[in-house]
């Protein structure tokens, strides 16, 4: 187990190095001068001033030197300053992280809490009316884009019923109910697709697990159907689902961009979106580090959950 963790750490560092290097190079190769983000348009005609700023920010140094400098700072916890606001990237990210984090957690929880029972039922009762109804709903949930769903929700719950705020964000420290109200619609808009995917994957895995010989022998032992379903079928059927949830969590970090934009939520996705448009490459770079780290950590967590679910993997790991 210790070796496994050590291996994951090495992988984390290697991934971060690779991803930040590639992002650094890519953003530097993009057309457009980052200096333009730093100084007002009127001042951009002043060649001397521009050159001075370039020198100050180190834009004239070779790419590798600039990357090395960024990396050296990053290791010490300094991800640089935003080209647009001039504030440290860390300070820009920190208040936004819990917003997107909460949105993600609520979305995934909704997905699991609704998707897993539905998947179990429709897999267990394959071909039944309940199964067909669930499949139809899942199909619908998969086909409707989340922003369309978001718009419908806003129309119904904010404009018509006036139960929920259409946009904005209340921090949990300010008001718990206010916070729940602001997370409800964006989380539901995001969770519908998650529910659909989770239930479909679990359904098909349950169906194939129930055909296994050990399920037949569990029946022949006289165990109750419900006991067999929960104690014998669910665990071996949840490997694909675990992978998928892990991937989707990581995917949600950027997957929230459109929804954060729609609901005007001050999260990471929205910040990334504006950073790209404003050529705030330092911000893009900082968010990339965060994303890459999240992917690696989530994948490692999934691997550990795998081991907990299926003892056969322990030996191979």
């Amino acid at each position: 187990m210790g070796r496994l963790i050590a291996g994951r750490m090495v992988r984390l560092v290697a991934t971060l190095l690779l991803v930040t290097f590639v992002t650094f190079m890519a953003t530097s190769l993009l057309p457009g001068d980052p200096v333009n983000a730093l100084i007002p348009i009127e001042a951009q005609q002043d060649r001397e001033f521009v050159e001075q700023v370039r020198e100050e920010w180190g834009f004239n140094d070779p790419l590798l030197v600039r990357y090395g400098r960024w990396l050296g700072d990053a290791v010490r916890g300094d991800l640089g300053d935003s080209y647009v606001t001039g504030r440290p990237i860390i300070d820009e990210i920190t208040p936004r992280l819990p917003v997107t984090g909460e949105l993600m957690v609520v979305t995934v929880l909704l997905g699991i809490l609704i998707g897993v029972p539905l998947g179990l039922v429709s897999g267990y009762r394959e071909g039944s009316r309940a199964d067909k109804a669930v499949s139809a709903v899942a199909q619908f949930g998969l086909s409707i884009p989340n922003f369309v769903l978001g718009l419908v929700l806003i129309y119904v719950f904010a404009i018509k019923l006036r139960w929920l705020p259409a946009t904005g964000w209340t921090r949990i420290s300010d008001s718990v109910t206010g916070n729940l109200k602001s997370v409800a619609m964006p989380a539901i808009a995001l969770a519908v697709a998650e529910v659909a995917v989770y239930l479909r994957v679990l359904r098909s895995d349950i169906i194939s697990t129930l055909k296994e010989n050990y399920i037949l022998s569990a029946r022949a032992k006289g165990l109750k159907d419900r006991f067999i379903l929960f104690r014998h079928a669910l665990r071996p059927s949840s490997l694909t689902l675990t992978t998928l949830i892990g991937l989707n969590i990581a995917g949600l970090i950027t997957g929230t961009i459109v929804i954060e934009q729609l609901f005007a939520i001050p999260g990471l996705g929205r910040r990334l979106f504006s950073a790209v448009f404003q050529r705030d490459y330092m911000m893009v770079q900082g968010l990339t580090v965060l994303l890459a780290a999240a992917y690696v950590i989530i994948n490692a967590t999934v691997d550990f959950i795998y081991i907990a679910i299926d003892p056969r993997i322990r030996r191979r790991a």
């Binding site: 071909g127 296994e212 010989n213 050990y214 037949l216 022998s217 569990a218 029946r219 022949a220 032992k221 006289g222 165990l223 109750k224 006991f227 104690r231 014998h232 665990r235 071996p236 679910i309 299926d310 003892p311 056969r312 030996r315």
Partner: protein, 397 residues
């Protein structure tokens, strides 16, 4: 832990023939409805089994023996199965029983050991829990009680270091060990009838023997009835009181096991016996396989289902299905039944064989060429049947 008494002959169970048998199956039919048509897996099987007795069901893959066993237990789950006939177990009609009541018999009265121990145990559940979870739910045993029972069971099926094994996962054990555990699971609730469905097919040859001996010993010690399903006539020899040979979903021959080996009447039984390799054979002797394949269960030919492959086949066989009737005046008496128009070992059979040989019928020629072997094989098997396991003595004859 019961003492090993396999070496003590003659301690077989006294058949409690007070009235009705433990299990009576009457004209059982099982079909699966699939897109291509109706798969008639079992076509009118009748049998009886007394308490504490053993019955072998023998046949090739696809002869319906596994489906028969599962039909009796009503384990053929799925919407496309239909079963008809009569299955009477301990005085109850199992086919008429509500499913819920039937489920109460699973594990407690009727238990099954499956073919493949590699896939019959849940890979993500520890052995200890799999051993006794049904004891706890069926009989309401407590945790500590169940644990002690699991240890006792493991010792009984000769698994060393039982306490440590409780925490093992199935993949940490060998195939033979896993089958021992499957047997222990089946025995845990003291069933009255144990089905062993090809319990050794997936195992190493050396382990097969041990597992069969274990099953035999448990059957005797517990005075439990057992149905041993196998494709290998050599497995039932000396291990079961009676034997049924199945082909294409029907019983083609049925007799006390010793009688079957000494007075084999059905050409299919004979063919199965011929296909067993023997130690006495010269090395590189060609094994006598049965030519052709079993009929398509969706489209079974009229007449005797074995006729297309039978070395004794005559025109009558192709047209009229032979009834299962008493196989003459042999030692088996009324308990020896066979379904053949030209039985092996009768004048009718010999004439039919000679006619076919004269006509150079391919399957007959193949058999004739290996004939001296066939005779010796039959003699061997008969000797084995009487000598191998003395405690199965005292058959119905």
């Amino acid at each position: 832990m019961p003492a090993e008494n396999a070496s003590t002959p003659g301690t077989g169970p006294v058949a409690v023939s007070a009235g009705s048998p433990l299990l009576r199956v009457d004209d059982l039919h099982t079909s699966f409805h699939v897109a291509a048509g109706e798969v008639r897996a079992v076509r009118g099987v009748s049998l009886t089994l007394d308490r504490g007795r053993t019955l072998g069901i023998v046949g090739e893959s696809g002869s319906g023996k596994t489906v028969l066993a599962r039909s009796i237990m009503r384990l053929n789950i799925g919407g496309n199965v239909s079963t008809s006939g009569n299955v009477e177990f301990e005085g109850r009609d199992l086919l008429d029983l509500p499913l819920k009541a039937m489920k109460n018999l699973w594990g407690t009265e009727l238990a099954m050991v499956f073919q493949d121990p590699m896939t019959s145990l849940n890979p993500v559940v520890r052995v200890g829990r799999q051993l006794t979870e049904h004891v706890r739910s069926n009989l309401g045993a407590g945790r500590g009680e169940a644990r002690q029972m699991a240890i006792d069971l493991l010792r009984e099926v000769r698994i060393p270091d039982a306490e440590a094994r409780l925490r093992a996962f199935p993949h940490e054990l060998s195939g033979g060990m896993r089958q021992r555990i499957c047997i222990a699971i089946a025995l845990a609730c003291e069933p009255a009838l144990l089905f062993a469905d090809e319990p050794t097919t997936a195992l190493d040859v050396t382990v097969q023997h041990q597992i069969l001996n274990l099953l035999g010993r448990e059957q005797r010690d517990r005075e439990m009835a057992m149905i041993l399903v196998t494709h290998d006539l050599g497995v039932v020899a000396g291990r079961t009181d009676d034997t049924i040979v199945m082909y294409a979903g029907k019983v083609v021959e049925q007799a006390p096991t010793r009688v079957l080996f000494t007075e084999m009447r059905h050409p299919y039984s004979e063919a199965l016996l011929r296909s067993i390799p023997r130690i006495g054979q010269r090395s590189h002797t060609r094994l006598s396989a049965i030519t052709g394949r079993p009929p398509d269960p969706i489209d079974i030919p009229p007449g005797c289902p074995f006729s297309p492959r039978c070395p004794y086949v005559q025109q009558k066989c192709r047209e009229e299905p032979p009834p299962l009737v008493a196989a003459g005046d042999g030692a088996g008496g009324a308990s020896h039944l066979s379904a053949c128009w030209y039985p092996v070992g009768t004048d009718a059979g010999r004439d039919a064989f000679a006619r076919n040989l004269a006509d150079r019928l391919p399957q007959t020629v193949v058999v004739a060429e290996g004939s001296e072997f066939a005779e010796s094989a039959a003699a061997n098997a008969a000797a084995e049947a009487t000598a191998a396991n003395g405690s199965f003595e005292g058959g119905g004859a």
